[in-house]
Subunit: 358 residues, 2 copies
């Protein structure tokens, strides 16, 4: 059936394709019922095509058929969402036939969603859905208009007069404000946990964290002086620290520590995922830090640091956890297997949401 659909599609677009000199339409990736996946790429001239993906320990080679379609079928993959790309000779590319791109500034990779038999916490399920708003705010700190994404929970638009708590959720370095939804499915994770009664209905704000030239201090200013006021002026939200959380991954995990721990009067929840902390700002804030731990521990309802044991930042994260604990700051580590990946990001977020705003 799939083949017939694609033949039909090829027929329908044949005029446009011929005139625009586009390659033929190919189905890739094809996720099969047993969770094996076929990847395909069309090239008559390539000498070698290989697949790299976060579900593979090593690259695998695709084989070419007589029509110029290269393919490989990878045996059953554990259901999750994974980034992958092709190397065509020496050129790394996203899969031209896959609409779903890893939202990022510096590389172009595709993503494959292996759904499996049982619905996962990040899967689109038959539950009420929130919306993602793409908004524009004026940043006085940065002197420009910036885009941010706002998840509103199901029922938000009913304008019942309800006010919601807010999670500020920051992407990794070189990611964009879309990565938490496009790759992290933050909206579906929230939809599913809210529907199951496991998380409170909340607003999730996903700003763009790659501020240049100084990502750390300038972004903290942008969050505190511009983003929070924009959200509080434009959304029906609760504005005390007990209803405000900050979380982030990698460079965003470092930003989370800087923003959160220097503003414990504003955030009662600080959730840092695999934080990258080799920055001037982190050094400035925490090297000679002499915190009033009793006060901070009273202000914070949750301070968690999550990391995978195969994360290339694992040792650094462990050292930071120890550093905060030495200073008597209460911290709940969440250590899992896995690397510095968005598979783990989804896990971290799904672990965090039920702990917020209780």
């Amino acid at each position: 059936m799939k083949r017939i659909i694609y033949l039909f599609q090829i027929l329908l677009f044949s005029t446009i394709t011929a005139l625009a000199q586009r390659p033929p339409s190919i189905s890739s990736p094809d996720v099969h019922a047993d969770n094996s996946v076929t990847f395909r790429y069309f090239s008559k001239s390539a000498q070698k095509v290989t697949l790299v993906g976060e579900f593979l320990a090593n690259p695998v080679a695709l084989k070419k058929d007589t029509s110029g379609i290269w393919s490989v079928t990878v045996p059953a993959i554990k259901p999750d969402i994974y980034p992958y790309s092709f190397f065509v000779d020496s050129v790394q590319i996203a899969d031209p036939n896959n609409t779903y791109i890893f939202a990022n500034e510096r590389f172009k990779r595709s993503i494959v969603d292996i759904k499996g038999d049982k619905p996962l916490v990040h899967s689109l399920q038959n539950v009420p859905h929130g919306k993602i708003n793409y908004c524009y705010y004026q940043s006085s700190s940065l002197g420009t208009t910036r885009q941010l994404l706002v998840y509103t929970p199901p029922g938000y638009d009913a304008f019942s007069g309800n006010k919601y708590p807010v999670l500020y959720l920051i992407h990794g370095g070189s990611d964009t404000e879309e990565t938490w939804t496009k790759v992290g499915h933050a909206n579906f994770i929230a939809d599913n946990l809210i529907a199951a009664g496991k998380a409170k209905p909340m607003i999730i704000v996903m700003p763009y964290g790659n501020v240049r030239p100084a990502p750390m201090p300038d972004f903290t200013k942008d969050v505190i002086n511009d983003i929070i006021p924009y959200i509080e002026n434009n959304y029906s939200v609760l504005t005390d620290s007990k209803n405000r959380a900050v979380a982030g991954f990698s460079v965003g995990g470092g930003q989370t520590l800087n923003i959160g721990l220097t503003n414990t009067d504003k955030f009662a929840y600080i959730c840092s995922y695999a934080p990258y902390t080799a920055t001037e700002e982190f050094k400035k804030n925490f090297t000679d830090w002499n915190p009033d731990a009793t006060k901070i521990n009273k202000q914070l309802k949750l301070f968690t640091v999550s990391v995978g044991t195969e994360d290339f930042l694992y040792e650094s994260v462990k050292q930071n956890i120890a550093m905060f604990q030495e200073k008597k700051i209460k911290l709940a580590p969440f250590i899992v297997s896995g690397g510095h990946t968005w598979m783990n990001c989804k896990l971290f977020l799904a672990n965090t949401l039920p702990q917020l705003f209780k």
Copy 2:
């Protein structure tokens, strides 16, 4: 200064880069004050890198420096948003260093926004901004949950009790529900025309039109039976035909004709842009069409067909215009220069919006 910023960035991400084996960060595209643009690509192994773009009549070659950075500067380009890509040896790719991707199912191209001195109708300007909502609706026609985008105008969220007219806006074949905003800047066009008092505040619904296996009849069902009811149940909108418009480009322009002209009781505005009509559905609906022109002309407040004289569909569109006119259907052609491009799409939409809901 730009160079210093990027050196800083390289430094900041050097650990991550080294461990993830990413190529160095490069600034591309660099749009200069005189509207010339420098494109860059990094490869030590490529034999040849060329640039293709809709601002170029012919591909141009990039030149490699000793560090492996290939570059070319294209002289002043007319301000607009253009798709482009690189050919690295024989592999066509999106620019790895450019975040902005042409939202499409079948090719990966980048887009470059040449803003120029004077703000264009599609540029982000300092005016009140609407929001784009990413929503999910249940399609009974297609038996699945689907994503659509909804532009709400500035002030919509104030819940003043205002009800808004609705434009249903359809992308081209192989585009996605994001193409009208990501490439067509439909939201900024609406923001700017509303701010100037040239267009009425309206809701713009951008569904996903690539329904398989039969894009035309099944998508019409989806729009009429599922999308319109979803919008009217979930947004504060006017529901009579005088407050409902349909528009679309290419395959979506053909869908617009099918949806609109078979439902003139539901849509008083039909705006077809460079329609692709070589489909069974168009043949079925219009080959032996014997319309009650007097009635239809009373129902329709605007029926417009737009096309560029260099569009590969120009002859076909002219024939269709003549066919509708022969049948005494009132039709306002909007013929401009240019091809089957999203540069023209923006022009068509900016020409349409001021004519709607007057």
